[in-house]
Each structure stands twice: as structure tokens, then as C-alpha cells.
């Protein structure tokens, strides 16, 4: 055991250098050809299959699984990608236990659904590893569309628009395209540079230019985009982070979980990412679980995830909660932060237990902490945006905002769960509506 395991404070390289590769390797190793055939064989090719309905992008699951079973994984990939251009990423990150696999009739029959997500990965990897991009652009329409945000929503919209013959310009504030695929998703769900590889593959359709390091703001106004382009799609996600709103929250060592994860995702060497010995994560969603699990994988000795309500209310799925538990994360529920204690840097954090109704109980809990991660939700940032509702850009069923010729989708817009797959679906659907609008006044 390396000495640094017990060292207090926020330090890098807690584990032996060779340990990280294994710890951060694929959460679900890819299926081999034989495993894929066995898994595919279990699909019943259900009529009007419930799994399709449960997939936010409506992938024809029985068809693609049959295509795998009959030895044509590339045809399977086309079935998937024609509905969901990020089928590769979704296969890795979708909470399938809440989506397609929950609805699978074999879950009902035997408690063991068909491995839809893993089969989806098998097919999409098979095609993408050959570098094949199966879609071609329609005749040029001469129309130009601006997309703000190169996350799943923006790229999905851009791909569909390009395929329909429009020219697309994508602006993103970050140095790399991909949005949370690149900066947010847990490292063990998308190892080996998959996110950038998928972006490069997606852009092979042509007709899309991406300008990174360009944020909507003073030098790139929405007004300007509306003047220059025939339509605008906003897919900028949620850039801001909610405050803890407690005393001492500004102490050193109190960080946004998303920033910690972004640094970790961009680190070439996991051993270079500093982590506390005693880590406390506040929140109950996927971000909280990912921050907790990855802290643990980096070598934190004690990681506690504290959530204000009961487990059943956590946004993180049961699978995610179990994953955290299996990695040694302790989950504390019904506790809200009261004060961050420490002299300059955080040393402890105090919580108060609350009832199911969030009523204070007067009972408190103090946890030793040299690092505290806030993961209590993200917020939309930006000025001059279309009308908001509930903190997000208000959109109608077609993704239209309050501004003429401006659509929005993904996390920044109302409706849908905050998932990669819903962002892809919303981007794709908004693109279809943009196309219809542009074709109508062509």
C-alpha cells in the first residue's frame, strides 16, 4: 500500500501509478462476438416493443438486435444511428435500468432484461471502429443554421441539419467539442478518448463547422446570430452550479463536483488529480454519484455521499447507488448541510438530519472532510436569452423558443430528463422542425 493513502489533505497520486488504469477502465467491458450472439438470441422481437417506447430516441431495438443475431452488426448500427447519432455514447451512459431495459419483457419474465445497452455498443463500435460514416448529405439547401453548444443536443441537431442539406456552424465556449460527454460523464463510462472519437466520426457527415472557444455573450450575441443565420438552435446545457447557501461554503476545499469531474476527465494521468483523504459529496444525482465514485477510485480513503431526502428520491438510479456502494462510498440520507468548519480550508462539515418532509430534527452529524463537492444541481447561465420557465429556456413541443427562428433543446431547455439520450432526441427533433420551417419558406 502506498503511504499517501492515509495522508490528510488534498493530494495527488494516492495510489501506485499502475493502479489507475485498471480502476478507471470500462465499467462494462465490451461484449465479444460470441457474447453478443448469445445476448441477441434472447430478444423476442416483440411487437410494438415496449423497449422502443422506453428509449427517448425511439431506436428500433428488436430490429437492431435481430440484425446482430443474423450476423449484420453494421446494419444494426445503421438502425441505431439513424435514430440516435450518439448511439455509441448512449450505449455507454444511458441509465438503461430506468429506460429500455426496465421496459424489456424479459425483465418482467425473468428479472433479466436483454442487454440492450451493451448490444447497442457492440453494433455501433463495430461500425465506428471501421471509420465508416453511413449517412450522406441531401442536396444543399443554401440555408445556414447556427448551433450554440457542442454537447449532445447541439451535435445531434447539427448532424441532422447537415444531413438534410443545410450548412451548420456550431459555437462552443469550451476548447473541445462534446459538452458533458467530454467534460462530465464518468471516466469509466467513456474511456480511451471515446467522446472525441465520436465527435470526429459524427462530423464526417460534412457541412458542419465547429468553432470552439466561442461563447454566446458580448462578442457573440444571439441577436447577431439571428441576423446572420436562417435559424438558431440553443443547446448550451447548464453552465452554472447551485450554491450550498451555508456558512463557510467559501472555504478552500469546497468545490463544484462538475469542475472536479471536468478536471479529472481532462487529466492525461489520473495520478495527477488531487483528491482528499476524507471526501464529502452533497447531492443525490448522477453528478454526486460520479464525483463520489471517482474520488474513491482516485484513492480517497473515506467518501460519504450526503443527500437531503430518502434513497428512493435520489435521481441517481438504483444501479448507480449500488455502484457507489460497491466501490465503498457511504451513502447518508435525510441530512442537510449546516456549516462548513475549518480554518481557511475545510476540516469538517456539519449536517442536520431532517424528516421525509424536510422538517429539521435538531439532530446533527459532523463529518471530517478535507474536500467537499457540491452536486446539488446546475443552472442556466446567460443573458439576452429567450423567455425562461423554471430556470430553463421555455420551449414548445417543437422546441421553439419565445424568439422567432430560435429553437432550443437539451439540458438548457424545459422538458425531458437531464440525460444524454434526451438531449440527443431533443436536438434531432428540433432539427426536423427547423428543417420543416426552413423548407416552408424556401
Amino acid at each position: 500500500m502506498v503511504d499517501k493513502v492515509f495522508e490528510a489533505g488534498v493530494v495527488a497520486g494516492r495510489l501506485a501509478p499502475e493502479a489507475y488504469a485498471e480502476l478507471f477502465s470500462d465499467l462494462h467491458p465490451p461484449l465479444g462476438a460470441h457474447e453478443a450472439l448469445v445476448a441477441a438470441d434472447r430478444c423476442y422481437f416483440c411487437h410494438d416493443a415496449p423497449c422502443i417506447t422506453a428509449c427517448p430516441t425511439d431506436i428500433d431495438i428488436p430490429l437492431f438486435i435481430r440484425q446482430i443475431a443474423t450476423g449484420t452488426p453494421d446494419a444494426a448500427a445503421k438502425t441505431i444511428l439513424s435514430q440516435n447519432i450518439m448511439g455509441g455514447m448512449c450505449a455507454r451512459v444511458c441509465p438503461t435500468e430506468q429506460l429500455c431495459e426496465q421496459a424489456c419483457v424479459r425483465e418482467e419474465a425473468e428479472g433479466k432484461p436483454v442487454l440492450i445497452g451493451q448490444l447497442q455498443r457492440y453494433a455501433t463500435d463495430h461500425l465506428q471502429e471501421q471509420g465508416v460514416h453511413p449517412f450522406v448529405r441531401a442536396e444543399p439547401t443554401g440555408k445556414r443554421v447556427a448551433v450554440v453548444g457542442a454537447g449532445p443536443a447541439g451535435l445531434s441537431a447539427a448532424h441532422r441539419l447537415a444531413m438534410l442539406g443545410h450548412d451548420v456552424k456550431v459555437y462552443d465556449a469550451q476548447p473541445k467539442a462534446g459538452g458533458l460527454n467530454e467534460y462530465g460523464i464518468a471516466a469509466y463510462k467513456t474511456p480511451d478518448g471515446f467522446a472525441q472519437g465520436e465527435v470526429d466520426w459524427l462530423l464526417k457527415i460534412g457541412g458542419i463547422t465547429v468553432e470552439t472557444g466561442r461563447a454566446l455573450g458580448p462578442d457573440l450575441s444571439l441577436e447577431g446570430l439571428r441576423a446572420e443565420f436562417d435559424a438558431v438552435f440553443l443547446g448550451m446545457g447548464l453552465g452554472g452550479v447551485n450554491d450550498l447557501g451555508v456558512e463557510g461554503a467559501d472555504k478552500d476545499g469546497v468545490l463544484d463536483a462538475v469542475d472536479f469531474i471536468a478536471d479529472l476527465r481532462q487529466a492525461g494521468d489520473m495520478g495527477s488529480v488531487p483528491v482528499g483523504r476524507d471526501v464529502v459529496v452533497i447531492g443525490g444525482g448522477m453528478t454526486a454519484v460520479d464525483a463520489a465514485v471517482q474520488s474513491k477510485l482516485l484513492g480517497a480513503l473515506n467518501v460519504t455521499l450526503v443527500y437531503r431526502r430518502g434513497r428512493e428520491r435520489m435521481n441517481a438510479s438504483v444501479f448507480e447507488q449500488d455502484l457507489a456502494a460497491s466501490k465503498g462510498v457511504r451513502i447518508v440520507t435525510h441530512a442537510v448541510p449546516k456549516a462548513v468548519i475549518g480554518n481557511g480550508a475545510v476540516r469538517e462539515i456539519e449536517f442536520e438530519y431532517v424528516g421525509d418532509d424536510m422538517a429539521p430534527t435538531g439532530q446533527t452529524l459532523r463529518l471530517t472532510a478535507d474536500q467537499v463537492f457540491r452536486a446539488i444541481g446546475q443552472t442556466l447561465e446567460g443573458e439576452g436569452l429567450p423567455d425562461l420557465a423554471g430556470g430553463r429556456i421555455a420551449v414548445d413541443a417543437q422546441g421553439r423558443t419565445s424568439l422567432d427562428r430560435v429553437w432550443a433543446g437539451g439540458d438548457c431547455a424545459t422538458g425531458g430528463d437531464d440525460l444524454t439520450v434526451t438531449a440527443v432526441a431533443e436536438g434531432r427533433d428540433a432539427a426536423m422542425h427547423i428543417h420543416a420551417a426552413l423548407s416552408a419558406n424556401a
Partner: protein, 434 residues
Amino acid sequence: MADLTTDFLGIKSPNPFWLASAPPTDKEYNVRRAFEAGWGGVVWKTLGSEGPPVVNVNGPRYGVVHGADRRVLGLNNIELITDRDLQTNLDEITRVKADYPDRAMIVSIMVPCEEQAWKDILPKVEATGADGIELNFGCPHGMSERGMGAAVGQVPEYIEMVTRWCKQYYSKPVIVKLTPNITDIRIPAEAARRGGADAVSLINTINSIVSVNLDTMSPEPSIDGKGSHGGYCGPAVKPIALSMVSEIARAPATAGMPISGIGGVTTWRDAAEYITMGCGNVQVCTAAMTYGFKIVQEMISGLSEWMDEKGHTSIKDFMGAAVPNTTDWQYLNLNYVAKASINQDDCISCGRCFAACEDTSHQAIAMSPERVFSVIDAECVACNLCVEVCPVEDCITMVPMAAGSTDPRTGKIVQDGYANWTTHPNNPAATAAE
């Protein structure tokens, strides 16, 4: 992208996948939905003569042989031809054909072996605008007891005679659907050709009893305690059908005659195989009855994917490609020597290959105390049994021996070139090799 359009006897369809004459093509509702789902054509459920239609049993019609996980491997049925009124069927056929001019519409017919019966029905069928007819000489149950169906298909003279009437009283292509319940499929095919048939289609169903109920002692499906043989179809019959198709494709008297392949077509691959064996298209019944019309989407995408991969741009490119390679046993190359080879990385040590080879074959697989299974080349006759019983695809493969190497089983040098039984020294009737 590969072009799947098919021209069979001048009848065009967007793909080679037709639904066979059976319940899926029994009525307008079904056929419209089938066309919407993408089927290239249909052969309408067999029509009978005018007058009161036949009646079906009011109990179970089907029996099934299931594989693991209740997969339908073989389907047995005792259904008769259409039990709906002739005119209703004709009206529906007319409407559907008019609405789907690009799809093949074939009308299956079975009327008594009397010229007048055919003279009566053919003009009515002609008036529907359908693209052709198929003569059901194959139904092996019920109708055959009444002198129709397989009862005609088993008598070459009847086949020839009825086919000739049809060519006389009907102007469009005539397809003769053959029964497999005979000993030599070439004979009825030749009869059809003599009668002027434009094509044959095969196979219809095979006489079958799928199971016996051990409580009631009745064959299944059981109608009030009694069962009757039915017709067998589905994946289980494909090998039988494919062999029959190959016989017709190879026989000099029938070679080149257009064939519509039927029997167990379940995936794109089955269809491709039938086409390589000389078929111009395929017909499907059980797969649609098991999985629904949507199954055709996999057939279309799979065939087109495979054709692209192989560089075939049209169905004609590979039609009949396997026929020249289908030969008699006596012409197989006896100089060809192979040995089984187990890929130890893929092997899961189940021991099935060992059990099969040790107990029933050539004792050519060794098992170590650590459960490592390996082939003993000195015993292996390359029978392929281990390959087929191994649960892991491609774990055991057959590796040909190079000419000049010594076969450790026979101690003989593997010869280059080709030598078959006709010239083999052990063959009493061998013709001397030059």
C-alpha cells in the same frame, strides 16, 4: 447500395421477399399491411372453386417443435385453402393490386382436376389484374383426400395436364407449386415444364405429426381427442427444401427453369442461400407467422448489407452461384484432407466435443486432467461433428492439410490435385485414371 429489385418471369418486385400462400396472405387487411411493412410480393391464400367455401376445423390447427427458449423451429398445420367466398377474394385482390402496382401479386389456385373447373376460374382471376398464378399441387392434408393439392402433385401426368390447361386459359405467368411428399422432386418439376409452366415454386409442407399427447393418446393438434397428420414448415424444413431446389437447378431436364424458393426462410441469409441455389426469389410463411410482417426489414437490410460487402449490385449477380458447386458424392475430392483444430482461447472446456468424438466417432479428442481438450491428428477423420456440437462459434475449425505433408492418421502424403471415387483404387467400378 445494392439493388434488390427482382424480375421473376417479367413480374417486378422491389425485393425478392414474397409472402407464401398461407394465412399471412389470406385477406386484404393482411396483404395491405404486409405491403406497408415492405414485402415485395404475395401469393394470395389458395382460392377454390365458386360455391360454398371449404370449412376449417374449429379447434387447434397448429403444432410446433420448439427449440431452446421456445423458439419455433418447426410448424405443423392442418388448415385448408381459403374458407372465404371466391368473389370476396377476387374483389380484394383487384383492389389491392390496383393500389400497389409495384408489388407482385400472385393468385394461388386449387380446383378439381377437371378442365371445366379451371376454365371457370381462370378468367375471373385474370380479371383481377394480378401478375400471375400459382397452382397449389402441394397441400398434403384435407384437400389431398379430395383429390386435390398433393394428390395432384404426386401424379406427374396430372401436373402436366392441369398446367397445360392453365397456359391455355390464362395469359400471364403460371407457377407450379410442388409438394415435397414424393421420392424424386425432379419428376414433378419436369412434368410442370412439359405442361408449359413458367416456373416452379417449392416446397409446400411436409407430412407431419409433431407430437402425441401422452395423457389423451391423441396426436397434436388434437381435435376432440383425434389428430390428423398436417403439413410441416418453418426453419426445420429448409435443408429439405434447399436440397430439392438444388436437384431441380442441376438436372439437365429442368436446369434454367425459374424457381421460387420456399421453406424455412427466416433470415436474409436463408434467402441468399436459396438464390445462390438458383432461385429467382423466395417465399416466406412461418417466419412471418412467428415474428410478424416487420421481419422483412431485417431480410432487406441484411441482404443488401451482404451484397454490398461482396460487391454484388443486383440479385442476378449471385443467382445460381452455388449450383455448379453442388455435385454428387462421387465427385467430391478425396485428396482433400483436413483436421479439426481447437482454439484454446475460445474453448470453455465444456467437453461436448470430447463426448461426441469419444463415444460416437473416432476417439480423436484428448482430454487432460485440467480439462484441456485437444485434437489427436492421428485419429481425426475431419468429420466435423465436434465443430457442430461445440457451443462456441468458430472455436473448432477445420484446417486443410497442405499438399506434400503427411497425414498422421493414414501415414500417406497429402496429394495435390483432384481425385474422386470414380477413379479410386478401392472402387470396384473405377475407371482407370489416365
